[in-house]
């Protein structure tokens, strides 16, 4: 396995995904992140650059003597975390124009993937939207990370929603006792979504739901007569936005409350994001 060269291979690709993702990873490279998943193993897995805070006993001093590089040695046991990042790529994720939810989701996923991979964890990617559109099983190889990033780069928000059904298809294929992060706007039936997540939880995975909403969806800033065109093929609705706003906000709050209650019951970590949130802070907060 080739050594992961962050600065030469990963960061440029991250830049193509999002500047925010790049900044997020650079932040982690600066040593802000402390992995709590270290273990002892005799099976050598590779090197990674030394970061302030690393145990100096793990520095590969012979390597330093040979090549003047200050790397720490990694062992196979430390890469056993297998994480799958699932992105909801339904049409509703395309809302937001230059601040589309899908862009934020892509940035979050790329940053998270890079951070996990940086720490030697295996990362997989599932693209959902009505059904399971694509799935990259988790792998810790740098080439796989590149494949994940390229898949993210090509991601488009389109088609019908419905992560619940897709999760039902995905759950049997997930590694047991891994990490599963679903980035979605949850614009679908809450019951169906929670059923799918419970299937994932049944794999004893550490399941996290990152609920991503656009600022408009949270505040409904429209006024006057507006014709809402469904991004997932729903029939359009011509409404008086001023009159509808309170009813919409009430329905949204009920939906979020129902989602939170379901996640709490299934021990799913639910975090809310806004499309314009700072990705680095968001990831750090989510992984703390």
């Amino acid at each position: 396995m080739a050594l992961l060269n962050w600065h030469e291979q990963i960061l440029p690709r991250l830049a193509r995904v999002s500047l925010s993702a790049r900044l997020a990873v650079e932040g982690f490279l600066a040593g802000e992140h402390r992995s709590n998943r270290r273990g002892q193993s005799v099976e050598f897995a590779g090197h990674r650059p030394y970061l302030p805070g690393d145990d100096v006993r793990r520095i590969d001093w012979p390597l330093w003597a040979r090549s003047d590089r200050l790397d720490v040695r990694l062992y196979e046991e430390e890469s056993q975390l297998r994480a799958v990042i699932a992105i909801d790529a339904s049409g509703s994720m395309g809302y937001g124009g230059s601040e589309a939810k899908i862009d934020s989701a892509r940035t979050l996923a790329a940053g998270l993937a890079a951070v996990l991979s940086r720490h030697g964890d295996a990362v997989g990617l599932a693209v959902l939207g009505g059904s399971l559109r694509s799935y990259l099983p988790p792998s810790a190889s740098p080439a796989h990370l590149i494949a994940v990033l390229e898949r993210l780069q090509d991601l488009r928000a389109e088609g019908p929603g419905g992560c619940g059904e897709a999760l039902a298809s995905l759950a049997p294929r997930l590694p047991r006792r891994g990490l599963f992060v679903l980035i979605t706007d949850a614009c679908e039936d809450t019951g169906s979504l929670l059923r799918g997540l419970r299937l994932v939880c049944a794999r004893r995975t550490d399941t996290r739901l990152w609920h991503l909403l656009h600022e408009d969806e949270g505040g409904f800033p429209f006024a006057g007569d507006v014709r809402f065109l469904g991004l997932e093929g729903e029939p359009s609705l011509a409404l008086d936005a001023d009159r509808v706003r309170p009813w919409y906000l009430r329905a949204l709050a009920a939906h979020r409350a129902e989602l939170a209650a379901g996640c709490r019951a299934a021990r799913i970590d639910l975090r809310g994001f806004r499309a314009d949130d700072d990705v680095a802070l968001a990831i750090a907060d989510a992984l703390r």
Binding site: F222, L231, R245, W247
Partner: protein, 719 residues
């Protein structure tokens, strides 16, 4: 059915569309937004959009209903029950029906003419094929009788074409005419149906024609003809508020050209008092607009002066611009006048003089104070010595172009000159004979009066002295312009006269011919002057001189109005009236290819005569307004005015007492116990007024609208 007291206010009903229009105008084209969280909106839409739509439509309906109810309420609708009353008549056979319809001016008040037409149509609908009908509106009473109609559709068309005229209602005349028209019918079951306007005016209580009607109805029957049934269809009416112009009266119907004629206009308020704009027009051109405010139940008078009028016919019309009441026909009135060129007056003096000297010097000064320098003076006197009337030829020459001749103190005339003067008077000229010191009354009686065949109006008696001096007065009850002038003057101008000598004149019928008149009297009751028509002209004999030798008349205030009115009256040739009463036929000077145009369009004219002279005559005029005679080239030849009869302004509704009209109809019943007379009580019953309910509906709609809006605002605020 529903009757509207002010149907023109229904024109305001389109305002009820305002909420819809505002809704459409304010309805913006919605902005398109691609939206992800449709499921939340879908939930809202399913529940709320329906609710909003219902609420919005409900508000639209409530607002529209409120405005519509208010607009309809303004027209004061009422529920009326109409009955054609046909079932109460037992028709034993084919019907001969005369529909006598009151189309008087008052029938147009508050849409009453439409009600009358519908009542007549309802009655027609009870007739069957083979029945005969005569449609007889009041305005066609003077028209020749026409054959009854058996075509009911044609009768219905005639009924629908009836419109209010300028006439005052006259039910006895209508009923008498209907009985006459019934003679032309053949069917045995006779019906006279009077469709009245519901106004008391038409019943003419106390009119003797009711007796004539009762007599004719009680007359024995002949043949198979049944006694006619009399049916009265009279819609109950309400008192309506009205503002009206009741009179337009120029100071004189015949004026000198370029004089500023005073005109009095009377505006009346019936039950309403407010400011209205009075627009006065001369020949259709507005000359003045005034604001008047007549008392609620009284009249106010407006006096104006016309601008100088050119020679010819003129019509003064007045219009209440913004009366907006239930009787539009009363909002306008018109009168005609004619301006004639200066009247030439030949003054033949026994004692010629200049200025105030001479037999007729004061008279010449009174007629033309500016001695010919004023081109607009109404009279053009020409003074000559009586000796110039040498013979007939010379007299004809002098009389040519004059309208009147005055003989001042002339004792005798050449026979030829006298004959010329008599011809002049017979042709329409005026003659004033004034005594003087040298006259011989006996010669005048012999040569000039000639037992009534001469030009002198009466045989003069002796010259007598008055000790003390006599004064004069207007003859009571005289309709002569002179009597009117001094009766209306408000001052005792004649009583201030001091006459010390006079020619004794006989009274009409007592030494003077019966057709003579004495409009002014001395204080002993003898005539101060006596007038008599001679041919087409008139001759006047004055009892005193006009040079001041027999009294102070020339120097008194009575002089100018006396001689001007007298000369103006006798000098003017009789001409057809310019202001006509409804149904009068207009007369115009003969003209070929002339066209008469009236308010309702062109009318036929035909050659005829007026006052023994050839003239162009029009048909009886029924519509109020201005009628203009145009020449073939379009020039205006003459104008005439027809105004609504003054009696037609009385809009008092028929009361119970009138229904008993009441006495007459009661008498008919008594005379005919078989019940041939059917009084359809009302024909139409006006029931409950609906406008209070409409106002209540509007208020409820507005309160409901306010409640819904308030609740929606609360919901929004709470959410």
């Amino acid at each position: 059915m529903i009757e509207l007291a002010a149907p023109w206010l229904l024109l305001a009903t389109p305002i009820a569309a305002a909420p819809f229009v505002l809704h459409l105008v304010r309805r913006r084209r919605p902005r398109d937004v691609g939206w992800g969280a449709m499921r939340f909106l879908a939930v809202v839409a399913a529940e709320q959009r329906r609710r909003l739509a219902v609420q919005e439509r409900l508000l639209l309906i409530l607002r529209t209903a409120a405005l519509l109810a208010a607009a309809v309420a303004a027209s004061r609708p009422a529920w009326v029950e109409r009955s054609a009353a046909a079932p109460v008549l037992e028709r034993g056979g084919r019907v001969a029906c005369v529909l006598a319809i009151d189309d008087s001016a008052a029938s147009g008040a508050a849409g009453g003419d439409a009600v009358a037409r519908s009542l007549a149509a309802a009655w027609l609908s009870t007739l069957r094929d083979g029945d005969e009908v005569t449609v007889l509106p009041l305005s066609l009473l003077t028209e020749p009788a026409v054959d009854p109609l058996v075509d009911l559709a044609a009768a219905r068309s005639q009924v629908e074409a009836i419109r209010p005229s300028a006439l005052a209602a006259d039910h006895p005349a209508l009923l008498l005419a209907a009985l006459d028209r019934l003679q032309a019918h053949l069917n045995p079951h006779a019906e006279v149906v009077l469709v009245a306007s519901g106004r008391a005016e038409g019943w003419r209580r106390g009119d003797r024609r009711w007796d004539e009607l009762a007599r004719r109805l009680a007359a024995p029957l002949h043949g198979t003809r049944e006694r006619p049934h009399i049916v009265v269809l009279e819609p109950p009416t309400r008192r309506v508020d009205d503002m009206a112009i009741t009179a337009v009266i120029p100071a004189s119907a015949r004026v000198a050209p370029r004089t500023r004629v005073p005109v009095r206009i009377t505006v009346a308020g019936h039950g309403v008092r407010r400011d209205v704009t009075l627009r006065i027009a001369l020949n259709g051109r507005t000359i003045e607009e005034l604001t008047v405010s007549p008392p609620a139940d009284g009249e106010s008078e407006v006096a104006i002066r016309l601008p100088p009028v050119e020679p010819g016919d003129h019509v003064i019309s007045a219009l209440l611009v913004d009366a907006n009441d239930a009787f539009p026909a009363s909002d306008t009135c018109a009168a005609g006048l004619v301006a004639e060129a200066r009247l030439g007056v030949l003054l033949a003096e026994a004692v010629p003089g200049r200025g105030l000297s001479g037999s007729l010097g004061p008279l010449a000064a009174a007629l033309d104070p500016d001695d010919g320098t004023d081109p607009f003076a109404p009279f053009a006197p020409r003074r000559v010595a009586a000796t110039q009337l040498l013979d007939g030829a010379r007299a004809d020459e002098l009389l040519n172009g004059t309208s009147a001749v005055v003989l001042g103190g002339v004792a005798a005339l050449d026979a030829g000159a006298l004959a010329a003067i008599e011809r002049f008077v017979a042709a329409g000229g005026g003659l004033l004979v004034v005594p003087g010191d040298g006259i011989d009354p006996a010669h005048w009686a012999t040569a000039w009066y000639r037992g009534g065949d001469g030009a002198l109006p009466a045989p003069p008696g002796a010259v007598r002295d008055h000790r003390p001096h006599a004064s004069a007065t207007a003859a009571p009850g005289s309709a002569h312009p002179l009597a009117e002038v001094f009766a209306n003057a408000g001052s005792d101008a004649l009583g201030q006269l001091s006459i010390n000598r006079s020619l004794e004149l006989p009274r009409p019928g007592d030494g003077a011919p019966d057709d003579a008149s004495a409009p002014l009297l001395l204080d002993d009751g003898s005539p101060l002057l006596i007038e008599r028509r001679r041919g087409q002209g008139r001759a006047v004999l004055l009892a005193t001189t006009l040079d001041g030798s027999w009294g102070d008349l020339p120097w008194r205030a009575a002089m100018v109005p006396l001689v001007r009115t007298l000369i103006g009256d006798i000098a003017a040739k009789p001409s057809p009236p310019r202001t006509l009463l409804p149904l009068q036929r207009p007369a115009f000077p003969p003209a070929s290819g002339a066209r008469l145009s009236g308010p309702a369009g062109d009318l036929p004219v035909e050659s005829g005569s007026w006052d023994g002279r050839s003239a162009l005559r029009g048909p009886p005029l029924t519509s109020p307004g201005t009628y203009t005679l145009f020449a073939a080239d379009g020039a205006v030849l003459a104008r005439r005015a027809v105004a609504v009869e003054r009696a037609a302004h009385d809009l008092t509704p028929t009361s119970e007492a009138d229904d008993a009209a009441a006495d007459v109809l009661g008498a008919w019943r008594a005379a005919d116990p078989a019940g041939a007379i059917v009084l359809v009580d009302g024909g139409q019953r006006r029931g409950a007024e609906l406008w209070p309910w409409l106002i209540a509906l509007a208020v409820i709609a507005l309160l409901t609208e306010a409640y819904i809006c308030g609740r929606a605002a609360r919901d929004e605020a709470q959410s």
